[in-house]
């Protein structure tokens, strides 16, 4: 295909790394087509680590806002020259991946056809294409969302024969090195520092491993607190690299580590894409289905209290029960298994309210399977929406290849109730909150399609799209209901 392509990704490290599968797909689909990438200039160091593109554009997200505050006309002039530079490239296609006013206006200024969040109404409003509309609908019921952010981005590009995936790094039998990323962006998704401290001690005791603390300079005090909390014997095995590595060096260190233990962070995504094994410790708003490490054979230890996943916004949680659910001892058990056997063959005793997931590929991308209690009702609903997504994209419905435990009585009843509600046109009548949650994305899809019609989406197109989602969802459910145990 002719013409240049620009991918706009202005979000942080983690999001940029999770955009790499899209870039790989675009390259694989049309290796000769000119591909360019626009990112936050602070992530420049990632340019050589990610998939190769023909040109990198940078937006000075650190400097421009300050300049705008100090000297508006100069900032205006700088943005104008810069935006004109992009516009003059004459892109045929612009991928706008961020749901933000900033990138919407940028896409509008650059011109050309836009995929993803498309500017409409003279640049004032955005239109989600059908695939993103489904993703948006699923955000309304995150418990059942089984679409990974990388796949959300990746499926904006045309389907191709499967693009190459990064391989897992093979490390020789040398002294074990376990890397820990102790901080995350939000307190709600952060495993307590005391837990990391105990974990570090256990790893030194049980594996005799070196422990590397990775992260930024701002996070360094936390690493120092961790080290102070250790006995001298443990402390000498724990190296604090926080703030001592740039992104290049961080990548090099992650490649050398046998395993990274981390919350939902940019470091975790970077490690996964580099091929380093990872064990995610996910709690609060973090859900492995959405932003777990992308690839095959990654593990996520997920705290799953009834309130999971909670909202990211707002202050600290008044009752952070999820923070104590995942114990350092259980994490240490898993790390030992993963280091010694490469997999978790024998499940350790998992603390109540937690799940252990392992990632795998299916026809849609990366999914996670619980190793402890198999599929429950909520998983089946999530899987059915995954099927709806595949149908929307013209792909085959992803199949479940993991041994499947028989459904419990209650789950089966819920499934039948859901099927009945769907036959009734999606009307719930008097049903349980669980069923309401299961049907929320369908309702949100309807509302989004209605909104889109108001800002210019063709009515037939909107209805076809909605019908496809409903049909895909029913097909997905049907497979579990009639097929019994797939």
């Amino acid at each position: 295909m002719e013409g240049k392509v620009l991918v706009v990704q202005l979000a942080r490290l983690g999001d940029l790394v999770q955009t790499w599968p899209l870039l790989r797909r675009l390259r694989h689909h049309d290796p000769g087509r000119h591909l360019e990438l626009l990112t936050d200039s602070r992530l420049r160091a990632l340019q050589t680590l990610g998939p190769e593109v023909d040109h990198h554009w940078e937006l000075d997200l650190a400097g421009l806002p300050l300049l705008a505050q100090r000297d508006f006309p100069s900032a205006y002039e700088r943005v104008r020259r810069w935006a004109n530079g992009l516009k003059n490239q004459g892109y045929d296609l612009v991928y706008n991946l961020n749901f933000s006013r900033l990138s919407l206006l940028l896409a509008y200024l650059v011109g050309g056809e836009v995929k993803g969040y498309q500017p409409v109404q003279g640049g004032r409003e955005f239109l989600r294409e059908p695939w993103l509309a489904l993703v948006f609908a699923l955000v309304h019921a995150r418990q059942v969302n089984r679409l990974h952010l990388s796949d959300v981005f990746r499926h904006l590009a045309p389907a191709t024969p499967p693009e190459p995936r990064p391989a897992t790094l093979a490390l020789g039998p040398k002294e074990p090195v376990i890397a820990l990323q102790v901080a995350t962006r939000h307190s709600r998704r952060t495993w307590p520092l005391e837990a990391f401290t105990r974990l570090a001690g256990l790893l030194v005791d049980r594996l005799g491993s070196q422990v590397w603390l990775v992260g930024t300079k701002a996070e360094r005090p936390q690493g120092e607190t961790l080290r102070r909390g250790l006995t001298p014997a443990h402390r000498e095995r724990v190296v604090n690299l926080q703030g001592k590595t740039d992104l290049q060096e961080l990548a090099a260190r992650l490649r050398e580590a046998h395993l990274l233990v981390s919350g939902d962070t940019g470091t975790l995504h970077l490690a996964a894409t580099l091929g380093t094994r990872t064990l995610g410790v996910f709690l609060g708003p973090a859900s492995c289905f959405e932003t777990g490490p992308y690839g095959d054979g990654h593990y996520v230890f997920q705290a799953k209290p009834p309130c999971h996943p909670c909202a990211e916004a707002g202050a600290g949680c008044p009752e952070p029960i999820c923070q104590a659910m995942i114990t350092p001892d259980a994490v240490a058990d898993l790390v030992v298994s993963l280091y010694t056997e490469g997999e978790v063959f024998t499940l350790p005793r998992l603390p109540a309210g937690t799940r252990l997931y392992r990632s795998f590929y299916d026809s849609l991308g990366v999914n996670y399977a619980s190793l402890k209690d198999g599929l429950r009702f909520i998983d089946l609903v999530g899987q059915a929406y995954r099927c709806a997504g595949a149908r929307l994209l013209g792909l085959t419905c992803p199949t479940w290849q993991i041994p499947f435990l028989p459904l419990g009585e209650e789950d089966r009843r819920n499934l039948e109730g859901l099927a009945a509600a769907l036959n009734n046109g999606g009307s719930l009548g008097m049903t349980s909150p669980l069923l309401a949650e299961a049907l929320t994305p369908l309702q949100a899809s309807r509302e989004e399609m209605h909104r889109q019609q108001l800002i210019g989406r063709d009515r037939d197109e909107a209805e076809t799209c909605l019908a496809s989602v409903v049909k895909g969802f029913r097909t997905g459910l049907q497979e579990f209901v009639t097929g019994g145990e797939p």
Binding site: P65, L66, A68, Q69, P73, L102, L105
Partner: protein, 592 residues
């Protein structure tokens, strides 16, 4: 017919508002008309002689001859005095306008001179009212008037030069006490300074009050308690110094009972700001003014003599009279629910603390439907059953409801030394202004200053003793329409003359008068949109974008809102503009 009647007759026909104002003007005790050596009256205001004590007529003529005046140019004279310097110009047939800072001086002039030609050949303006003065007129100053009011003179000069005259834009830090009566005054002051267009901020010590109270119970050892309290006060002072260093105010405006002492005031002063202290209490009762007055640049009082004499004897010359006022945002007429009227209303209400004179006076009123609100009352006394909420403090929100819900609001000024009404009471308490602003009917005891602020029996009702109080309560309870009329008049007067906005504007003028040239002449900060217009060349596309923006749009957020509402596709300028606004928003919330 005397001069006043003659002047008033003509003035009433030509400028009825001014005539009414002057008719109601009360002459303060420090305005003295004294005969000069030639027998003609001369005038002294405070210690300033406005005319020659020897021959004011000759002095006025000499002043006119000394002015270098072009033929036929209109004249604006700052300061009327008793008019000796104005009359020769009127006689020469000149167009003459006079701006007199003080209504009392103007009233005295009209009592002692025939100024009728002034109304035909020009006019008189009072205070800051510069309306209708001929643009480009020649400004002449009556030197003693200018000495008394240099701030207002500068303002007038700026006005005649065609400058906005809005005055300088100041950063003002208002400092209140931890608690007590001057705390709400401090809040109102900060609000009023802001309303006057300044950047004003209240350093609110109220959150520390609890800590201060706790200290009182820490130990039975008095000297330890004193030491701890002293350390808390030192700490509060450090907070003030830190705030001054950060906010860099031009003026620190301190209210009575603010936790400051002389050493701290000297430190604050060395940081650069001008210090003004508003001593809103009785100097006879609270002697701490002796320590503070010499340390500030301007010391405002709510009493004149003999306080002024004592201040003069102490040393400082930088004091001025600044009476209390009301905050009409707080004290306002309310539409109360029947439930609120039941809860807060009564035939007769009183809000205030249980001072001795009130405890002595109120037992004579217990046969009325009477409610007493406030603290420091003895519940085990005949007044006990009349005291509401077990003598709890009354918040401003409650007070304004009580004022509105009660048919008669009694206002008996406090006195720790008297049995009932203080016969020497001079200053007017805040409640007088608050009640007037609330549009509530009040029955108040006489005060020397009262008639300067409110017309007795027209705008407020007075009682001189218990018998009169009882008679008037009985009368007004059966003449509700009279109460409503008087309350309405009182509120009108209060909103015109006695709001904190009015008062603090006077305060700033007084500061400019007492400390000429000390306050910076800084222009108000440019509005963001004006700044933007100035930042781009005239032919820049951004100017075209800004062209249709309505004048009420002042900042970038509002401008972006107008972009949202337009129909045409965003132009390049609009999109870039919006994008830059997003940058700024992102910077504020810490993410994009």
């Amino acid at each position: 017919m005397n001069y006043w009647e003659k002047n008033y007759e003509i003035l009433k026909q030509q400028v009825p508002d001014l005539a009414e104002t002057l008719a109601k003007t009360h002459i303060p005790a420090d305005h003295q008309v004294l005969p000069s050596k030639t027998g003609l009256p001369s005038l002294k205001v405070g210690r300033q002689q406005l005319h020659s004590a020897y021959d004011p007529l000759a002095e006025g003529l000499a002043w006119v001859q000394a002015q270098d005046i072009e033929e036929a140019e209109p004249l604006v004279i700052f300061g009327l005095g008793l008019g000796y310097h104005v009359l020769p110009l009127l006689e020469a047939g000149r167009e003459v306008w006079v701006v007199e800072p003080s209504a009392a001086v103007a009233r005295l002039a009209l009592e002692h001179q025939d100024l009728t030609p002034l109304w035909a050949q020009g006019g008189l303006r009072l205070g800051r009212d510069f309306q209708g003065l001929p643009p480009g007129a020649r400004l002449l100053a009556h030197p003693p008037s200018r000495r008394l009011h240099p701030g207002l003179y500068q303002r007038l000069a700026a006005h005649l030069r065609g400058e906005s005259g809005a005055g300088a834009y100041l950063r003002i830090l208002v400092v209140g006490p931890l608690y007590g009566g001057s705390h709400p005054i401090a809040r109102s002051c900060a609000r009023a300074f802001s309303a006057l267009g300044h950047q004003a901020e209240l350093l609110d010590y109220a959150p520390f009050y609890q800590g201060y109270q706790i200290l009182q119970d820490v130990t039975a050892d008095k000297s330890t308690e004193n030491r701890l309290t002293q350390e808390l006060l030192t700490f509060l002072g450090e907070i003030l110094v830190a705030r001054v260093r950060d906010f860099r105010p031009d003026l620190v405006f301190l209210l009575a009972q603010a936790p400051v002492e002389p050493r701290l005031l000297r430190r604050l002063s060395s940081e650069g700001p001008l210090l003004a202290y508003w001593f809103v209490e009785a100097f006879q009762v609270f002697p701490y003014w002796r320590d503070l007055a010499p340390e500030v640049d301007v010391f405002f009082t709510i009493q004149r003599e003999p306080f002024f004499r004592e201040l003069s004897e102490l040393g400082p010359k930088n004091f001025a009279f600044l009476p209390l006022a009301a905050d009409p945002e707080v004290y306002r007429p309310l539409n109360l629910t029947p439930e609120e009227i039941r809860q807060f209303g009564a035939a007769v209400s009183f809000v205030g603390a249980g001072y001795r004179n009130r405890r002595e006076f109120f037992p004579g009123l217990l046969d009325f439907d009477f409610r007493i609100w406030g603290s420091d009352w003895n519940l085990n006394s005949p007044l006990g059953p009349f005291i509401q909420n077990h003598g709890a403090r009354v918040s401003e929100e409650e007070a304004v409801k009580i004022f509105n819900a009660s048919r008669i609001n009694l206002n008996l000024h406090s006195s720790p030394y008297h049995l009932a009404i203080n016969p020497e009471g001079d200053y007017v308490n805040p409640r007088t202004f608050d009640l007037a602003a609330a549009g509530a009917f009040q029955l108040v005891d006489p005060r020397a200053q009262l008639s300067e602020f409110f017309q007795p029996e027209e705008e407020v009702a007075l009682f001189h003793d218990l018998t009169e109080a009882r008679d008037k309560i009985a009368f007004y309870l059966s003449h509700g329409e009279e109460c409503i009329r008087m309350a309405r008049q009182g509120r009108k007067r209060c909103l015109r003359d006695h709001t904190y906005n009015v008062r603090l504007e006077q305060a700033l003028d007084l500061i400019a008068d007492l400390c000429p040239g000390k306050l910076p002449q800084r222009s108000p900060p440019e509005k963001p949109l004006e700044q933007l217009r100035r930042g781009f060349p005239a032919d820049h596309p951004v100017q075209a974008m800004l062209q249709p923006v309505p004048p009420e749009v002042e900042d970038l957020s509002q401008l972006v809102d107008t972009l949202r509402e337009r129909d045409e596709p965003l132009t390049e300028s609009e999109a870039i503009f919006w994008l830059l606004h997003e940058f700024q928003q992102g910077l504020e919330r810490g993410r994009f």
